[in-house]
Amino acid sequence: MLKPVPMAKVRAIALRKDLEDTVALLHEMGAVQLTKYEDKRLSAEKPIEAYQPLMAQLVRLRAIEAALKPVPITEKQKLLPLGELLAECQALRLDKTLSQMRDRLEAIRAESEELSEAEEIFEALQGLEVDVSSLKSKDITYFVGKIPYQKLVKLDRTVAKITDRYVLRAKATGRFERACIIVIDRKYGEQAANAIAKIGFAEARLPPIPGKPGHVLRTVKERLVKLKAEKSELIKMQEKLSAENYGKAVALREMLEIHSDRARAPSNFSGTEHAFVFEGWVPAAHYSGLEAALSNRFKGNAAIQQLKTDEMPPTLLSNPGFLKPFEFMVAFISLPESRELDPTILFALIFPVFYAMMLGDAGYGVASLFIALILMVKFKGTMLEPISRVWAYASFPTVLFGIVYDEFFGFRHADLLGFQLYHGIPRMENIIPLLLAMIALGALHMAFGFLLGAVNAVREKNYRHAVAKLSWVFLEISGIVLIATLMFSALPAWAAIPFGIIGFLALIPIAVFEGIPGLVEIPGLASNILSYARILAVGIASVVVAELINELLLPKPEMGVFMFVLMPIYLALHLMNIFIGMFEALVQGARLNYVEFFSKFYHGGGEPFKPFGYPRRFTA
């Protein structure tokens, strides 16, 4: 749990005649991340010949799948051999039908949109006993379209400024819109078109149907009905095609992806006329399984060995399921390197405590649990799911801290129960003791970070770095004692002498092993520790808002009916405060881990382990 999965670098050699079978075996196992193997004495391999036709079919099948409507799939299909698969794909000749259907649906949509707009306009122009299309001649022209109602006067003035040889008729098409027709002297047509477009007149494209508006409107309505019928016919046909072919299309697409992965794999290999060599990373625990599988399958015609290398392996974390959301939080910043400590468990233990100390209200804790559970369901499969899980876990210590702080939706328990059960530590009345406690907690957290840094350095056999990290712990302790003694007289004055000496001695390894950058970092140590005051700052902000909401807006029975008006506002404001508190506590709690804690020991920058394989959904 504290370390990523140990990886082994392997190299294997097999006969060329077994190349495709070897690739298939590795792909089925899904345990090896292939790496590029190059050797001057060998020639680089290429993807197998079928790769090009596979890719061509894959593009086709993806388009077919996208054009069909998804239907539930219950049965998995058997993976077909390459030749059969290509033949099967070619036999699925849906491309033309689907693309014609798609084009026709698109044309219907565009025409319906245009006609619906025309319908609105002609409905507004119904009283006009004139064939609109006849209004375009060598002497006159017209514009038909819509404009927001408050701009109608401006439209009239704009045209009037150009000429007085025009007629404007307008009628309401909605609450805020007016349909207009402007008939104007052709000489001023172009100038008017530009001017009215500038003030927001949206000219409509009218269908080329001759006749008076009443007649055109009837024709447009009839056409719209026909288009609707055609559309529903096409959709029925699409549904029928989907029911018949969707399952087959996704299975074939998956098979093509599997085969194209396999066809491309040899481009990582090198080989001779009769043999080929490949390299890759495999979890060390799976090495013997891989070795056995190769030897069983090829009866001694394949050999594999483990390599000693300084290369950094890809990272595979192995945390139990309930820690996965915290793994996500760690990887969000950066994945650990394969050989360093995996801080997921530490994050999972420390973060909820910081979060709880910030939100720190038992009522808010319970509410945040429900909010988190709703978000988890609503945003399943998105980035918000692991974050909601973290919120859900952290809501339990929040309730606990709420009890300690004696905060229940901004009330004290005595206010709610009417009698005192215990004496809590309300934040607003204990600011200075809590501030000191937060800073002490920060100092401990950071000292722990330095110790982990020392452990990491020892594991990397970098002993100088380890000594420097330990010196930081001594420097931190002595600094705190000196400040407590000299500034706050918390300890007898003589304590300053031994701790002064310890602090000075701690500076020496830092200066020697970390040089100028180490010394420059010393003020940063104080700033890092003070940074933990944010736990109190965020908490106090949340408490003050909760108390204000209770003081100003708490609905009471003596208010009468007004109580029911106030209730939703009161609840909404508390809900808003909970949301802000949840978000702030998440960001600030994570930050204290990422910036103040991780910076003491964590390298990050690991590359994720991507095994050669395929997560099958539709094939067996």
């Binding site: 990887a331 910043i333 600011i431 200075i432 700033s527 003070l530 940074s531 005051a533 700052a537 910036v595």
Partner: protein, 79 residues
């Protein structure tokens, strides 16, 4: 309260407000610059969002300093 202690209280309150005000403005200025640059990076490389978050949150410590000083001063008024 006599005039002298009134002026002293006013001075302390002003100092507390100035501490938070300066810290908040400073943090805001730093975060606006980092945030806008960060958005540019995220547009091209969304996978770097996590690392950029670290840079974005670093200046927040400035306002925390302001908060600590502000609280210490404000509590002097009450006492």
């Amino acid at each position: 309260m006599d005039l002298g202690s009134g002026i002293a209280t006013f001075g302390i309150a002003l100092g507390a407000a100035a501490a938070i005000f300066g810290g908040a403005i400073g943090t805001g200025m730093a975060q606006s610059a980092i945030g806008s640059a960060g958005m540019g990076v995220i547009a091209e490389r969304p996978e770097e969002a996590g690392k950029l978050l670290i840079w974005l949150v670093i200046p927040e410590t400035i306002v925390i300093f302001g908060f600590v000083i502000g609280i210490l001063l404000a509590l002097k008024i009450g006492g």
